[in-house]
Symmetry: D2
Subunit: 345 residues, 4 copies
């Protein structure tokens, strides 16, 4: 029998993508969907691409919880804690695509989100759903915090080198570029077509909320505090994160040595493609897929290690990874429903 998977907040971009991916999952079915803004409408009233494919009517969050084994929430930050409580009390698996359970320190959450942990015991149960790094913790869990897009891309680029002690902890820098869907479905002047077309700029320089989340993952991996300079940019493409990450290589570290630790780290990872020398990670190559490309470079003139990762912010950076977490939580094969090839063009 298929897993009943429901989506709270189905009309945002991450929610809509979840519905699409769940529709092609062989072991799950989309059981119910909800939306505060569009209650009573069909999903295809909001997303005409889904016309004729999904007759579900957008209902209330409670109905989604009642009708589902696994509940995904794709809500604005701050709204997931109560929902999580309800889901766990009702014995459901809860996978949160928002930020409420991502930070393990209440003070970080307060500082960056101006919000508090309502149910500290829930935060203790929560696991951080980046399977390539924390797979064993995720299996069988009931409360999973799905990472953000940048916060998946940057660690996948840097962790093997950091864990192996081949780069310095100081001076790590992530210059990241995001497709527009990362800004969501809500209209802004900045994402009005004529003003974003033929444009590119940085945003939230030195202040983006994904910073503490990236630092937390790196800290967990190397056991020490790590500070990261993180600069996101908005890119006139629909999908994709490109993370160009810089770190000081330790003395004597060669590109070969670096490659070897990445090869070991990723040789059994279905969703991470470590590219051969001479190729660069490109967001074009991972669109609509759960794959992440990583390419490695060393600037020998300055001793700087440059690792570039590319993923689809809506799939590996959101809905696809959430399904990967569902698979792990529910004892399915981790790759179930997620092996579609990225289109070549």
């Amino acid at each position: 029998m298929k897993i009943k998977a429901g989506v709270i907040g189905a009309t945002g971009y991450a929610g809509a993508e979840l519905c699409r991916l769940l529709s092609q999952h062989p072991e799950a079915e989309l059981s119910a969907i909800s939306s505060v803004s569009f209650e009573g409408k069909k999903l295809s009233d909001i997303y005409p691409s889904y016309y004729g494919l999904c007759d579900l009517v957008l209902g209330k969050a409670e109905d989604v919880i009642a009708k589902s084994d696994v509940v995904f929430a794709a809500l604005p930050h701050g709204l997931s804690q109560e929902t999580a409580k309800q889901c766990l009390d009702a014995g459901k698996v809860f996978i949160d695509l928002g930020a409420d359970f991502r930070l393990e320190r209440a003070e970080d959450y307060e500082q960056w989100y101006q919000n508090t942990f309502l149910y500290p015991e829930l935060h203790e149960q929560a696991v951080y759903g980046l399977p390539e790094l924390f797979r064993d913790e995720i299996r069988g869990k009931r409360l999973i915090a799905n990472p953000g897009c940048y916060t998946t891309a940057v660690p996948l680029a840097l962790v093997p080198a950091l864990r192996a002690g081949l780069i310095e902890k100081d001076g790590i820098l992530a210059d990241c570029k995001s497709g527009v869907t990362g800004a969501g479905r809500k209209m802004t002047q900045d994402t009005h077509y004529p003003e974003l077309n033929e444009a590119m700029h940085a945003y939230k320089v030195a202040g983006h909320r994904h910073t503490p989340e990236i630092e937390q993952t790196l800290r967990r991996v190397c056991g020490e505090e790590v500070k990261v300079v993180f600069t996101p940019h908005l890119l006139p493409v629909n999908r994709g994160i490109l993370a160009t990450c810089y770190a000081k290589a330790k003395p004597g570290v060669t590109l070969d040595k670096l490659r070897r630790v990445y090869e070991e780290a990723y040789e059994n990872e279905t969703f991470v493609h470590l590219l051969p020398p001479g190729r660069e990670a490109d967001i074009h190559n991972v669109r609509m897929s759960n794959f992440c490309e990583v390419s490695l470079h060393l600037d020998t003139r300055t001793g700087t290690f440059i690792a570039v990762s590319a993923l689809d912010n809506m799939v590996k950076g959101a809905a696809g990874q959430a399904i990967q977490n569902m698979n792990l939580a529910c004892g399915l094969s981790e790759t179930e429903g997620l092996l579609m090839w990225p289109p070549a063009f």
Copy 2:
């Protein structure tokens, strides 16, 4: 046991898309691929999106035929006749994505392609693979001419009205807009990014080779010669055909009456989405999918019927429809492997 499906000419855009779609077909497997230009390379050497996903090496056409039950050929026009002969002699199913078997009249082929029918008996066996119109002829056949992209979009927009006698045969006009992948992988100055970006123009006005193919389909449907004005345009998007088709409505014909014949024609067609009043077909809504949207409009001031269809030129207009034909030819469910939703963004 899965059907062994091989692709001759796998490195062109249609061939590459076929490989991708076959990889997610539950009843088929990609058995062998070939390319004249890239023999000996892996498909992912040409298409980096496929890195790590397809280890097949590009070989010779003969090997593809030997290793496959169904052979798809995505070759430049003119090269399929010999291949078809070899496939049929070897007892294979042959599905041609080129134009060599699309035209039933040798004189049309000579006029528009400056080429002759080498094996007239093959042309007699060939069926035209537009399932929504000629499904019964396709089932169980061994030689299928897969239609082109424009030649799928225009008939799906016009046939129900024409067949029902609600529009005039004279004065039919199709103003079509195509995504760039329709121009293929071969570089041209015209498709060099800076020169196509922020551009749009018509091409091959009054002389595109899809004209006789469109006319043939309309003629078969209404039993009389039909002439069509067909103007293709190149559009700065990767995928999609938008066909805005115009015809004189017969006196007294209302939009309601037109809608009813389309509803009847398409109510059981999985891949055709007849849109409700007030919505317009959009290539955005069918990308990466085998669906075709159709919207109907009547300009009552002039008595002009306007039917707009949208499809993905690489899927319903090429590789997806070829698989739909394979499914029919091999006795599988027609929709097998083709029900993926188009992404919402």
Copy 3:
């Protein structure tokens, strides 16, 4: 002394473009600008491209009138009649980029805009500012209705043939494609970047308000009622109108004959580029310029004349043409300030 030119409604796209073009006009200077929504702000607060280039503060319409010799109004339809009255009463030249003075018949205005002529005497004074067709009427006038973008592109494509009696009046059809700026600065879900990118669709099929305006121009040229099927489409580029226009060629009319009347019509027109045989009009080639490309084609199989025009909807289709009209109204050289080349990429 330079002409003082003011812009009412300077923060819409047409108004903003006017400010830019006026800034490089050797005989005019931008004297004052207004905006209801952004009063008190600087234009560069709204359009960061203009940062450091324009220190004018957005004021009230009255101030613009007081400080200007020529007043341009780029207002939503319906709001120009009172402004026109004030301008004429104050002895100013008034050039309206809205639709209020474009239609000469009150009944057309009522039918298509649900509005009435408030000052019929003003409408009698108003001239329709399409200089290539009505130049002599425009010279020295004080109230000029600047045509819309489609309504410039379609007549420039068709008028020479129609005036020379080489095409039939019945069955004229204009399939038009517009860049997104035509939809204005106001955000809509439809023009949110991720939803328009990789998209194309028709809109307002058989009901766009430019229809009666196009018909009026054609009627004035040939002296008889003309009905036109007009289908606009939205295109994922910032600027440009491509008008693919179809008409029945009269018996015996050849492409040579058609070319000759176009050559005569446009040989002295600086802003119309009649393309040589074998080339197609392309919006890429006219961006940021006041030029209009026209290419001519004849489908001899069906006797259909196909004329394609391309222009920049914000320049020749709005602000540039408005300046061309100012030049004529004020006795300047018609091309003053408008001869910048379109960029090649």
Copy 4:
């Protein structure tokens, strides 16, 4: 009398842009153009945007030299030395858009370009044409090496801080993003529309030839060797360089202090727009113009100074700056012909 300006290599992108900008220069006229590949053709045969605007026929380099007071060369690297010799011998001003005269050390040129200084005395005469930094050296000179696009953007972002000693010389990093025109008119698979659309990737990581040129400028400014990590990326827009530059702020340096040195440095620079706090430099805002936007940021958590610059790679990064140099060399006002506003959309 106008300056006669000729362009050798007029059919590459930089050359074509030069022709366009020279056409609107009030004190110069385009005297002659040349091309090896397209000799005998008109420029508008190559660039249809220029149809009807430029009747010059592409001739030989010698003719350009003979007919011009100022000769611009937009040639592939390595071909300018002989041309420079001919120009200087003939008493012309020579402005080189290629790299042959940019590097002052023969060993750098040999290492990065595998080429030698043919006429060392010419290299001694050559000045580096970045007017905002080296204006006084450029005035009245006859041999000017016009900087590349990245090599203009990065110094404009970093020099004021470096010169004032507010940042460390070690650990400077420039993560740059370039529009496609930077890759030139030559077709490549990488810049074929369907493969670059919806794409982004780094290229020539740790090995791009602009590295030593950037380092040379920084060295000249601070008097010591400087090493820079420079990572270029290819962006799916036509025009623009966005340079996100990182440097360690010296202890105690505040953003206010940094702002002040930039304000001083740029307060009289027409072409550099230092943005107010809260705004980010965007390539959208400088397209088709000679302006460069600079925004300043400080990541106080890590003590990292982030300066972002944006310019049009074809104007301030190539043809516009070359004209700025011509103006200086010929004693014209430096901004002549270069004050056009960037379009708002």
